[in-house]
Every structure is written in C-alpha cells, then in structure tokens.
C-alpha cells in the first residue's frame, strides 16, 4: 500500500470550515453556482470562488460551464482515497485496542498488586 498523493491535498482542503460548508451545500443541493453558494454564507462570491478552486484542485468538486455561468458539483469519489487512508489508520487502532484488551484481561492483570512483590529475576513470567 502506498500513500496516494491526493490524501494530503484532500485533508488540507477539508481543514477549512468554510470549504466543508461549501461541500455540504453542494452535496445537499446537487449543483450550484458560486453566487448561489455565497448567498448562504457570510463571505463574498470572490472568496467562494477561491475556496472552490482549492476544492477543485483536491478533486472534491468539479465546475461545469453552462452558458455564462459555472455550476459546481461535489465529487464524492474525490474523498475515496482519503477515506481508505483513514480506514487504514483506524484498523491500526483496532489492533492496538485488541492488544490493550488482551493485557487488561490477562491474569494476573496489570493492576493486580503482587503479594510480596519482588521485581527482578524470578518474578512472575514476564514476557
């Protein structure tokens, strides 16, 4: 498994709350122009266009020209690589949690005081 270059661009694009809001708007409404998107947000149309450009470079939206205006749509497949990347990291946590479970459920357990404990050689089987 190799790192897909899109992941860091997608993460950076999604780091901004305004861009997340734009993506949510697009996902909810299908397609929209920058003007329509700016109506729902406390920022200018120019700012929306800049944010859309970042999302476009990351492969998260696509613009389609219709006559004089550009309509934007969300590209859910753009997050697929990132979702896979995060799923891989999540699987790592699953393994760690299973190991913590094994340790906590083992007997004698980690919090059990050992009577007359004498750390060092000859102690209870340490692995």
């Amino acid at each position: 498994m190799t790192h897909e270059p899109a992941v860091d661009e997608v993460l950076a694009a999604m780091a901004d709350p305004t861009r997340r809001a734009l993506l949510e708007d697009l996902a909810a409404h299908g397609e929209a122009t920058a003007t329509a998107l700016a109506d729902g947000l406390p920022i200018t149309r120019q700012a929306v266009v800049k944010h859309l450009a970042v999302l476009d470079r990351a492969g998260l939206v696509a613009g389609r020209r219709r006559g004089r205006e550009v309509r934007y749509v969300a590209r859910p497949e753009g997050v697929a690589a990132t979702a896979r990347w995060l799923a891989g990291l999540a699987a790592g946590w699953d393994r760690r949690l299973r190991e913590i479970k094994r340790i906590a459920e083992s007997r004698p357990g980690p919090a059990d005081p050992r009577p007359g404990r004498a750390p060092g050689p000859g102690g209870p089987a340490s692995r």
Binding site: V79, L89, W93, I100, A111
Partner: protein, 147 residues
C-alpha cells in the same frame, strides 16, 4: 463528513482500573504501541515511544483523569516534537459497562497535518502496523496451537 477523525471502541472484560493500567503503564504501552515506552503521566508530561527500526516518537500528555480519561498529542515522524501542524490528538475514554469497561479512542487533527507529515505518518504507520498485524497473527496462531 468527517475525514479528520478516527473513532474506535472495544469492550474489555476488566475493571476500569485494570484498563487504565494497561493504557498508561509504560511496560504495557510498549506492548501495544511500539517496542519501548516512557511516560511522565501528568499534563504536559513527555511520552516517548519507539520502534527499534523507526526511531523515537514523541508525545505530550494533555489530560489525565484516572481512571476515566487520558489524552496526548502525538508528533508525526521520528524525533518530531509535537506542535500544531505536525501532530494529532489521541483521546481515550474509559466507561464502566456491564461487568467490564468500554474503551474508546478518538484521534483528531489529520487535516492540520501538512503534506510531508501526512507522508511520514503514513510511512511509519504502514510499516509498524504491518508488523503489528503479522505479530498479532503469529501470536493467535501460537495460542491456537497451545490450546
């Protein structure tokens, strides 16, 4: 959609105290996270853990509320001191449940990593997780044989 967050949980048939110990005692941490671990268990305390092959990794403890909450900020890449832009926040919550404990982990902040740190984080985890998974399978195999 939240691409900035990993959330997992597991039910453990052991008291909160035992889970807390498995989670925060360095000799145990070294079993679930790297090959070796040091931990100064207090807010601002340093945590160092390492894989022999990939160098030492650093974390800073954020909150310690035994036996129910523990969090640290984890720097991505060997010898990286955790700071904004190169670290993620890992939070563990221990909740008593039905003759055991639910251990939940939430890791956040991937979106604030810059590109090269994403690569480092990925490289280290793919390598170490790969080993962890192989060792886990080997261990299960061994336990199966012994049973």
């Amino acid at each position: 959609m939240a691409t900035d967050r990993i959330e997992r949980e597991i039910f453990i048939k052991a008291s909160q105290n035992r889970v807390w110990a498995a989670l925060t005692q360095p000799e145990h941490i070294a079993r679930w996270f790297g090959d070796s671990a040091e931990l100064d268990l207090r807010p601002g305390g340093k945590m160092v853990f390492g894989w022999t092959e990939y160098g030492s990794h650093h974390a800073v403890v954020e909150r310690v509320e035994p036996p129910s909450f523990f969090s640290y900020r984890w720097g991505h890449g060997a010898e990286v001191v955790p700071a904004a832009g190169n670290s993620t926040l890992v939070e563990f919550t221990l909740t008593p449940a039905d003759a055991g404990t639910v251990l939940r982990v939430v890791e956040t902040g991937f979106a604030s990593l810059n590109g090269s740190d994403v690569e480092k984080a990925t490289a280290v985890r793919e390598n170490t997780e790969g080993w962890a998974s192989e060792l886990g399978e080997l261990q299960q195999y061994a336990e199966g044989q012994a049973a």
